[in-house]
C-alpha cells in the first residue's frame, strides 16, 4: 500500500537537536500542529474580544461620545467578527480535532501531516494579512481600494488553510482507524470532527470561489458585485448563522464524549447521537444560498398560496430547522445521560452543558430571526444569535482543552480554578446575547455602531452587553493564564485522569511521537473500558 504517511519523519523532527523555534516551524506532528492552532486561536480570541468590547462601547452613546470615527468603527466591527469566527472559533476547534482525533482512532499520525501543518501556516498568514488589510481600511466597505483587494486575497488564503486541515482530519477518519473500529464505532469527537470537516470541505470552496469573483471584479471592473460595499452581501454568510453552527460541530462531539465519562455512565441512544450531529451539518446549505434563508409567513395569508409556501418552507426547514433539531437532539441525549449519572465535580462538565445551551439559544433565536413577519431583519437581533453561538462554541472549546489538556501537554488545568470560569463564561454569554435580542425587537440597527437612535432603552442594553463582553474577555484571559500555568508548571495528569473509555486515554500523557507503542484491536465503542474489564477478569 502506497501512502504519503510521514509519521516517522514527524517524530524525528520533534526529537532532533534543532532549536525549539525551528522544531515548531517545521513540525508535522499532529499534536504540535494542534497546539499551534489552539495557541494562536486563544490569541485571536483575546484580540476579537477586545474589539468586541470596543464596538459595544461605541453603541452605548451612538449619537454622542465616540472613540472611533464612522469609517474606523465599521472596520473594527468587521475585524471583531473575523477574529472571533476565523481567528478564534475555527482554530480552537480545528486545533482540538487535529491533536485529538488520531489519538481517539488509535492512529500513529494524522493523514497527510504536512498538509495539516501547511494548512496552519496558510491560515495564519491569511488571517494576519486580512487583519492588516482591515487595519489599513480595507475590510468589507473599506475605503482603501488596494487594501480591499488584499483583504479578499488574504481571506482566500486563510480559508484554504482551514480546508487543508479539514482534509487531513476527514481522511484520517476514513482511513486511519485502528482495526475493529468502524466509523460509527469511533468516539463522538472523532465522528463529529469527521462530519464537521466534510461539511467545511463542501462549504469553504464556495467561499473561495465567490471571493475570487469578488477579487477580480473589485480589482479590475467593479461592475458586478457592488465593489467594496458588496463584500459582505456575498461572503458575509461565513461569519453568520447558520454557518457558525458548522464550525461548532466538532466540539459537539466533546460534549457527547465527556458527559458520559464524567458522569460515570454510558451515553443513551448512541446511534441517535450520530444522527443528531449529522443533522447539524445540514447548515452547510447556507453557503449555497449566500444569504439567510427567510420565511415570508404573511400572517393569515399563509395557506392561500400553498404551493409557494411549500417552496419557501423547504429551504427554510433545511437550513434553519434541521440543524436546530440536531442541536436539540444532542442536548436531549446529554440530559438523558446525565439523568442516570453520578457526575464527578470536574470543570469540563459545566463547560460542556452550558456551552451547548448557549449554542442552542443562538440557533433557536436565529430561527425566529429568519421568520420575516417577526420583522427582525436588519436589526441587531442577529448579533445576539451570533454571540450566543460563538461564545457557546468558545465555552465548549475551553471545556475540550480542560478535558484533553493531559493529552495536549501532559498536565491538568485545576478544576477548582476552571469551574468558576465556566459559570462566569455562561453569564457573559447570556448577558452578551440576550440584550441584543431584546434591542433587536426595539429595532436597534445592525452593522452600525454610531449615528443611530431607536425607541428602546439604548444605553441600558448596550451597557449590559459591553460589560458582558468585558467579562468574557476577563474569563478568556484567566483561562489562558490557567492554561499557560498548567502547561509550564501544572500537576502531572497521569495517563487516564478521568477513567476514560476511549483510546486517547490508553497512551501516555503527553503521548509519544508515534502515539501508541502497541497495536490495539477494538471490539466495541468503549475499547479502553474493555481493556480495563479484561484486566479485572484476568
Amino acid at each position: 500500500m502506497t501512502s504519503t504517511e510521514t509519521h516517522h519523519a514527524a517524530g524525528a523532527a520533534s526529537s532532533t537537536d534543532a532549536p525549539a523555534i525551528a522544531t515548531w516551524l517545521t513540525t508535522a506532528d499532529h499534536k504540535q500542529v494542534g497546539r499551534l492552532f489552539i495557541g494562536t486561536g486563544l490569541l485571536g480570541l483575546l484580540g476579537g474580544l477586545v474589539l468586541a468590547v470596543l464596538v459595544a462601547f461605541e453603541r452605548i452613546d451612538a449619537e454622542g461620545f465616540q472613540l472611533l470615527d464612522s469609517g474606523s468603527a465599521t472596520q473594527v466591527l468587521s475585524a471583531a467578527r473575523l477574529l472571533l469566527t476565523f481567528g478564534a472559533v475555527a482554530p480552537l476547534v480545528m486545533g482540538l480535532a487535529v491533536a485529538i482525533v488520531p489519538l481517539q482512532l488509535g492512529s500513529r499520525s494524522i493523514a497527510f501531516p504536512r498538509v495539516a501543518a501547511g494548512g496552519f501556516w496558510m491560515w495564519l498568514t491569511g488571517l494576519t494579512l486580512s487583519v492588516a488589510a482591515i487595519i489599513g481600511n480595507g475590510g468589507p466597505s473599506g475605503g482603501e481600494s488596494e487594501m480591499v483587494d488584499l483583504y479578499l486575497a488574504a481571506s482566500v488564503v486563510m480559508v484554504l488553510g482551514l480546508a487543508m486541515a479539514a482534509l487531513s482530519i476527514a481522511v484520517t477518519g476514513l482511513t486511519s482507524r485502528t482495526p475493529g473500529m468502524g466509523l460509527l464505532r469511533a468516539p463522538f469527537f472523532s465522528w463529529s470532527s469527521f462530519v464537521g470537516s466534510i461539511a467545511l470541505l463542501m462549504s469553504l470552496p464556495v467561499f473561495i470561489g465567490t471571493s475570487v469573483y469578488l477579487y477580480v471584479d473589485h480589482r479590475y471592473a467593479r461592475a458586478a458585485f457592488g465593489g467594496n460595499f458588496g463584500v459582505n452581501n456575498w461572503v458575509g454568510w461565513a461569519i453568520s448563522q447558520p454557518f457558525t453552527y458548522v464550525l461548532a460541530i466538532p466540539v459537539l462531539g466533546f460534549v457527547l464524549d465527556a458527559v458520559p465519562v464524567l458522569g460515570r455512565t454510558r451515553l443513551v441512544q448512541r446511534p441517535a447521537a450520530n444522527v443528531a450531529v449529522g443533522l447539524v451539518s445540514v447548515a452547510i446549505f447556507a453557503s449555497l444560498t449566500h444569504r439567510a434563508v427567510t420565511l415570508p409567513w404573511e400572517g393569515d395569508g399563509f395557506f392561500s398560496g400553498l404551493g409557494t409556501k411549500i417552496a419557501d418552507l423547504l429551504p427554510f426547514g433545511l437550513v434553519n430547522v434541521i440543524p436546530l433539531l440536531g442541536l436539540l437532539g444532542v442536548l436531549g441525549l446529554t440530559m438523558l445521560t446525565l439523568k442516570s449519572a453520578k457526575p464527578m465535580l470536574a470543570a469540563p462538565l459545566p463547560f460542556a452543558v452550558l456551552g451547548l445551551l448557549m449554542i442552542l439559544l443562538g440557533a433557536a433565536s436565529h430561527l425566529l430571526y429568519t421568520v420575516e413577519d417577526a420583522a427582525l431583519g436588519g436589526t441587531i437581533f442577529e448579533a445576539g444569535s451570533y454571540v450566543a453561538v460563538t461564545f457557546g462554541t468558545v465555552l465548549l472549546a475551553f471545556g475540550g482543552l480542560t478535558y484533553w489538556g493531559p493529552k495536549l501537554w501532559g498536565r491538568r488545568i485545576p478544576d477548582k480554578a476552571a469551574l468558576p470560569l465556566a459559570l462566569l463564561g455562561f453569564v457573559a454569554t447570556a448577558l452578551g446575547s440576550l440584550p441584543y435580542m431584546v434591542a433587536g425587537f426595539a429595532d436597534q440597527p445592525a452593522g452600525v455602531v454610531d449615528g443611530f437612535a431607536y425607541s428602546g432603552p439604548q444605553e441600558l442594553w448596550n451597557v449590559v452587553t459591553t460589560g458582558a463582553f468585558a467579562l468574557m474577555l476577563l474569563v478568556s484571559l484567566a483561562f489562558v493564564g490557567l492554561a499557560v500555568r498548567s502547561f509550564t508548571a501544572g500537576e502531572p495528569a497521569g495517563d487516564d485522569p478521568w477513567d476514560g473509555t476511549t483510546l486517547e486515554w490508553a497512551t501516555s500523557s503527553p503521548p509519544p511521537a508515534d502515539n501508541f507503542s502497541d497495536l490495539i484491536v477494538v471490539g466495541s465503542e468503549y475499547p479502553l473500558a474493555d481493556i480495563k474489564n479484561q484486566g479485572k477478569v484476568g
Partner: protein, 199 residues
C-alpha cells in the same frame, strides 16, 4: 517467558485515493458554486435582439466571439487525458512499466495541450477584464479552472516520478491521479457548456 514484539500499525487504507476523492469533491463545490453565480448573473441580465437568433440574454458583450473550435478541442483533449491516465493505471496493474510510463507522459502532454488551448482562447477572445461583469467573471472562472489544471499537471509529474522511482508498487497513487483528471474533465465539461456554449 518469551513474548513477541507488538504488531506493527496497519498501513492506512487507500489514503491518497480517499484524499484525492475529497479534494475533487471540494473542488466540485468550488467550480459548481462559481457556475451557479455565473448562471444567476446571466439569468438576471435583460434580453436584447440578435439578428440571427431573435431575443437573447444580453450577458456576453456583442463584440466578443468565442473560438468554438478551440473550446471544443480543449474538451476533447480532457477526455483523451482521462483515457491516458486510466491506461497508466491499467498498465501499472499489469506491471507493464513501459506502457505505464508512456501513458503518464501522454497524460502530461495532453494536459499541457488543454493549457495551451486555454491560453489560445484567452488570446483569441481578447476580453478586456475591465469591460464589465461578464468580462471579469469570465477571467475569474476560467482562471480558477486553469489553476486546477495546473494542479493536475503537477500531480501527473509527481505521480510519474513516484511510479518510475518506486517500481510497480504505486498503483493506488496512479488510480488517485486518474480520479483527479476524471473530476477535471467533468468540471470542464460544465464550464464549457455554461461559459462557451450557453454564453
Amino acid at each position: 517467558m518469551l513474548t513477541l514484539p507488538p504488531a506493527p500499525q496497519p498501513a492506512p487504507k487507500r489514503q491518497v485515493f480517499v484524499g484525492t476523492a475529497l479534494v475533487s469533491a471540494a473542488a466540485t463545490m468550488l467550480v459548481g458554486g462559481m457556475l451557479a453565480i455565473w448562471a444567476q448573473f446571466r439569468a438576471d441580465a435583460p434580453f436584447r435582439e440578435s439578428p440571427r437568433r431573435g431575443p437573447i440574454k444580453d450577458w456576453m458583450p456583442k463584440d466578443i466571439v468565442v473560438p468554438e473550435v478551440a473550446a471544443n478541442m480543449m474538451l476533447i483533449a480532457f477526455f483523451v487525458v482521462c483515457v491516458m491516465a486510466q491506461w497508466a493505471v491499467w498498465s501499472a496493474k499489469r506491471n507493464d512499466r513501459q506502457h505505464a510510463g508512456m501513458a503518464l507522459g501522454m497524460t502530461l502532454l495532453m494536459g499541457l495541450a488543454t493549457l495551451n488551448a486555454q491560453l489560445f482562447i484567452w488570446s483569441q477572445m481578447g476580453v478586456d477584464v475591465r469591460g464589465g461583469a461578464f468580462n471579469s467573471m469570465f477571467y475569474a472562472i476560467t482562471g480558477v479552472m486553469t489553476f486546477l489544471v495546473i494542479a493536475g499537471l503537477v500531480y501527473t509529474a509527481v505521480a510519474t516520478f513516484r511510479y518510475l522511482g518506486r517500481g510497480n508498487s504505486d498503483v493506488p497513487t496512479l488510480s488517485a491521479h486518474a480520479l483527479y483528471w476524471y473530476f477535471l474533465t467533468a468540471a470542464f465539461t460544465a464550464v464549457w457548456f455554461v461559459v462557451y456554449v450557453q454564453k
